[in-house]
Subunit: 206 residues, 4 copies
């Protein structure tokens, strides 16, 4: 149809393939009755208007759009903060993903309260025109981080990035509540693991 | 293959149809650029072992399994607590669902800390054997409620329903953190709506 | 977004629901290890440009588009010609479909060679605006009829409905070959059924 | 759950990934408004009972099951016989598939009447246990070949491979009818291409 169709085609393909690959991992964990570090996976190709907005904002010429790192985006959402490390290690270990950049907004959260682990990977797709490498941004976060980020994103959209000060403060309080929820969950997770260890030692000693 | 296949067949069909119907509503909200009260929808048919466990626990004979209300289950997860009311009203308004029971565990949360709105509906499916009515349990909750419930469910499973006291206390603290997160989010939601109203009034006065 | 989004929304929903309902039937046949009269199901909403073309061709004003019978379309493809009768009976027996028109292009094939069984049903969907009845066209055909129709459709598209005479003749010969294939398959089907009957009688007599 | 779960896991994953990759190609053809050589794609992992049957029949010990070439199977169905060559070339050109065996049952059809192009490829998947290479059988055929093969397969199943002579003869006649249909379609395809060429030359000369 248009040049956009052709340009976005390998990104669409990459996103579909990563979704199947990551959902496949989750199913393997479930079948093996291990705790799965992947609760759910979502993916999207950035809408054309958002690509154009970002290019303008970043003063990026349209013939260099391939340098934009988040045209293809995949999000992995997990239960516990420690699951994030497991996922990051899994991504690094794969030969079909090549990590080219990483930002840890969990150790160093953004001023807004945003927390997530970001990776940019190089991924190879085969189209009807031949093989092509594209960049895909992978975001890894807990359900609480995701919940908060979803809300912040819609507020940012509504206020075109200029969230009023008082709402910003409320968002920060909500971010703290989300952080608190992750903390409480982590404590439970620890106890669960201890309890499981005790149980398996008891079984071993009989 | 077996009687279970035949027995579960209309439940499987009901679950597939409800998933398409509820996801369809979400897409309609998105296309109309309104706030969607449905963030995501999941659905499942209860595994046979869980049906047998529950029948035993409830002292229910196997020829009365049709009275079990949660063999088919659908879960609707939303962003804000007030979205839950919107969804409950939507379900009541439909002619293809007939609500036969309701329990509001949000106004009256369970001792464990569990919060959710439950409805049981009668739903009519057509199978190769003809028409059949089945019961489907619909659970409606916020993302924070869902997060907490997911964890509680896996702990319950691990401790076969007998969660140790200290872990129970931690779970309750986590439930409070989840509740707090919903509270903070609700406050933001209010401000967002006010802000939108101000904006549209300003537009109207020029 | 536009009026088209709003207008097409219930048709999209109807098509999704029918697809799940009909694919569900196929799976039930497969699970019951009976011969399934449904080989596969496809569905589509007519593209806007095709709706406009047809309205112009039929001299239909745009405020009467709801009278167009094939905006929502579902196709059921089967192995044997006799499967078509089974499917037609299944559609008639359902309370959620109301057959309002039928055309049998198998008994009376079109001059072009086209064969298929067409039904128009009324189907009720619930949207965020409330309940709405829409018409859906259901086409039932064998794999050979479908193969031929796919080719004819792309030729019609390429020649804007004016297929040259010599290609028309070739298409008719292909239609005859497709018909021949259905005939040969029907004969085999008969023998298979006879063979099965003999086998089960032999088992009964021992 | 069992060793079968673990053993079949990478095959399941391979089949899911190939389905997404091949359906992606079809969509790219459709978006580019070129003729798509891929009409539809189906895929399956061989059921455990069929794996065991085949191992027994081939006298293959169970610790050498990895040598069985069709545990993972993908089928690509196309409109025209010449599309098959296009697909075979596409598969050879990819770096993520490595063709290790090929059998052309179109040039040399089986005695039964069976026609199809078979390739066995090596494909690399990443599981939670690490990277693993599996074999996948890719079958390429036209819709007419597929129609016939579907019928033959169910007859073979019913007669446990011992189809009676008279039904075998009928099957061969049906195979000839399917072949005839492909021949007639090929002739039309030729004319369509010629017609298109004439049309584009006319456009060029004005």
């Amino acid at each position: 149809m248009s040049n956009w169709e052709v340009f976005l085609s390998p990104y669409k393909q990459a996103v579909e393939e990563l979704k199947v690959k990551l959902k496949g991992l989750r199913e393997q964990y479930q079948r093996s009755s291990q705790h799965t570090p992947i609760e759910f996976v979502t993916a999207r190709v950035k809408p054309i208007t958002s690509i154009l907005d970002k290019a303008k904002r970043k003063n990026m010429s349209l013939d260099r759009l391939e340098e934009m790192q988040d045209i293809a985006g995949v999000r992995i959402v997990c239960q516990f903060v420690t699951d994030i490390d497991t996922i990051v290690a899994l991504v690094h270990a794969r030969k079909d993903f090549k990590v080219i950049e990483e930002r840890d907004y969990i150790k160093e959260k953004k001023e807004s309260g945003y927390r997530s682990y970001h990776m940019v990977v190089n991924y190879s797709v085969h189209t009807i025109e031949g093989q092509k490498d594209v960049m895909v941004e992978i975001q890894v976060r807990t359900m609480a981080m995701n919940f908060w980020a979803t809300i912040e994103h819609s507020l940012n959209y509504k206020y075109s990035g200029e969230i009023p000060e008082d709402i910003k403060r409320r968002l920060q309080r909500a971010a703290e509540a989300a952080f608190q929820l992750d903390e409480e969950m982590s404590k439970i997770q620890g106890e669960v693991r201890e309890a499981q260890q005790i149980l398996s030692q008891q079984r071993g000693s009989t």
